[in-house]
């Protein structure tokens, strides 16, 4: 455990660079400002929840998770410092765990605080809880996927952006079957189930399904990341 914590503490500064944090805070603040403007324009709680789903769960959460998580292991590969973890007498899973923990440590405040404020702006306690639940599902799933992606390609940011915009944003929205393979379905589902509002999707998945899929995505990505660390060439 000591080694995982030590690696996590080392990865966090590499991930949470000033530029990244400022950029993400600006995007989060922009969403909150728009939310406040909508609220002042007499938008209903339902309208506000839909905005939170559209801006927060479809754009903000995946984007922030993408920028931060791809750097967890990606930055170590890119600046060739992974060797200083990789050559130690550690299980590869410990490196995977440290990179995920670093991602979570940075993303929990970076995602949940702006999303919580956005939920608060809706003026509806159920909506606030739903938005936080959806954000948490997105945080876990996107962080796992993008941490893994950062280990596979040095263009993880570009591939991740394509995935978020094309698959999650477009394809999953048009096709119901494709929607089941999009994380967005489960973040929106969590929002709908917890808040009790319709949200942006018709017939959201059951709460148990959301929990199982989120856990399965996280576990699979963790195993694939560990496998990749075992078999890769380290510069």
């Amino acid at each position: 455990m000591n080694t995982i914590v030590a690696m996590t503490r080392r990865i966090i500064p590499a991930v949470a660079t000033r530029g990244r944090i400022i950029a993400m805070l600006v995007i989060g603040a922009a969403g909150i400002v728009i939310g406040v403007v909508l609220r002042r324009a007499d938008a209903t709680a339902t309208d506000m929840t839909e905005f939170a789903a559209l801006f927060g769960l479809t754009i903000f959460v995946p984007l922030v998770a993408l920028v931060i998580s791809t750097a967890s292991l990606g930055s170590l590969v890119e600046d060739k410092t992974l060797v200083y973890f990789w050559l130690r007498p550690l299980g590869r899973w410990q490196i995977s765990a440290a990179s995920l923990l670093a991602g979570f440590a940075v993303l929990i405040p970076l995602i949940l605080i702006p999303m919580g404020i956005l939920g608060f702006v809706t003026g509806d306690a159920d909506a606030l809880q739903g938005i936080l639940a959806g954000s948490l599902v997105g945080l876990i799933a996107y962080t796992s996927v993008f941490t893994m992606l950062g280990l596979f390609t040095q263009r993880a940011l570009a591939w991740g952006l394509l995935y978020v915009l094309l698959w999650e944003g477009l394809v999953a929205g048009f096709s119901r079957s494709a929607g089941w393979l999009a994380i967005r379905t489960y973040t929106d589902g969590a929002l709908s189930r917890v808040s009790g509002s319709a949200g942006s999707i018709v017939d959201p998945p059951q709460s148990a399904t959301i929990l199982i899929v989120t856990a399965a995505v996280a576990a699979t990505c963790f195993l694939v990341t560990t496998w990749r660390l075992n078999t890769m060439t380290v510069d």
Binding site: A6, D79, Y84, L87, P89, L90, G91, D235
Partner: protein
């Protein structure tokens, strides 16, 4: 400790295997793995730390390492070869950073890519300069200690930073360090867990002469204390100062191995090619041919001639007197193949 393994009969230039470094000439070229070596299996020494057997690595159609086999015990061994010879790739495969395309690496009888306990017995100074830039040296080295499961990591980090002559209390981040200081930080992190196998990829790079001397002494003392130290270098003089066993790697193959002095003699005894410029090349050539030790001679133009000699030292010592006796003005004597590349090519081609 002085239980340095007895080196095999030396020097032993390795005959080139049929597969030379891949130089594709057509688009249809498909790289072939080196053929299996028909020779008997290499005998293992009792205190062998590292066993490399028929090791090969190819990247696409370029063969970086071709069918190398050797075993090492405690003591310093230098991998000597020109840039691009395959030294770093060999070291990386020994450390487990790179999977071999063919052959095996065993460290203490286990595969370092798979056995994490074995990785805890290896220290490596990689060639790349990258370090965790915003950390202080003591933090970086102590982290290596934590990851190696040490208890008093800060105390041990101070100790090894002292050994490499860096100030443990230096508050500056590593990013502000000179190349030589970074190099020493890398050495410190490799030493923190007292490795039994130490892999150093060009460890003297960036060090000033005094630091080089210190590092050389450190490497020698580690070897004498029973650590198996493998150092890669392309500088012959560096290797000489390490007083080590030498393995010459050229074009991905083990060209020769043995004690440094015998390898050096092997290099010096080869035919040498020397360009001689004088006021009368033809006349000087005629005089030289009447003497001994000249294997060949070509008159290039009125001033220049190229001499092939088996005894370069004698030739260099006598050429001035020969020219003076013939009333010929000597303008320049220039060895054409005294660089290491030529030496390595010669060893490979033997």
């Amino acid at each position: 400790m002085t239980n340095v393994p007895t080196p095999p009969p030396i020097p032993s230039p390795i005959p080139p295997p049929p597969a030379q470094r891949a130089t594709p000439t057509t688009k249809e070229y498909v790289p072939q793995p080196p053929p299996p070596r028909p020779s008997a299996p290499r005998q293992r020494a009792e205190n062998e730390v590292l066993a490399v057997t028929n090791l090969s690595k190819w990247f696409g159609d370029v063969v970086a390492v071709s069918d190398i086999s050797f075993g090492l015990g405690p003591g310093v061994t230098a991998l000597l070869g020109p840039n691009g010879a395959g030294k770093s790739t060999t070291l990386r495969m020994i450390a487990g950073l790179e999977a071999p395309s063919q052959g095996t690496v065993e460290v203490f009888g286990a595969d370092p890519r798979k056995d994490k306990d074995v990785r805890g017995r290896i220290g490596i100074v990689p060639q790349q300069e990258s370090l965790f830039q915003e950390q202080r040296a003591i933090e970086f080295v102590a982290l290596a200690g934590v990851l190696n499961g040490l208890m008093d990591t800060t105390g041990r980090a101070r100790e090894v930073l002292d050994i490499v002559e860096l100030d443990p209390d230096d508050m500056r981040p590593i990013s502000s360090y000179s190349k030589g200081m970074r190099q020493r930080v890398k050495v410190a992190q490799a030493l923190i867990h007292k490795p039994e196998l130490l892999l150093l990829d060009e460890p003297l790079t960036g060090l000033d002469p005094r630091q080089r001397l210190h590092m050389t002494q450190l490497i020698r003392s580690l070897g004498e204390s029973g650590v198996c130290v493998v150092v890669s270098s392309h500088v012959l003089d560096e290797v000489e100062r390490l007083g080590s066993r030498v393995m010459v790697i050229a074009q991905g193959r083990l060209a020769a191995q043995g004690d440094f002095h015998e390898i050096r003699a092997l290099m010096d005894d080869r035919p040498h090619r020397i360009r001689v410029r004088s006021s009368n090349a033809r006349a000087l050539g005629g005089v030289l041919l009447t003497g001994s030790g000249i294997a060949g001679l070509t008159v290039v133009d009125g001033e220049s001639l190229i001499v092939d000699t088996d005894d370069a030292a004698t030739f260099r010592a006598s050429i001035a007197a020969v020219a003076r006796a013939a009333n010929i003005r000597l303008l320049e004597v220039q060895p054409l193949d005294d660089d290491l590349e030529s030496v390595f090519k010669y060893l490979v081609g033997r």
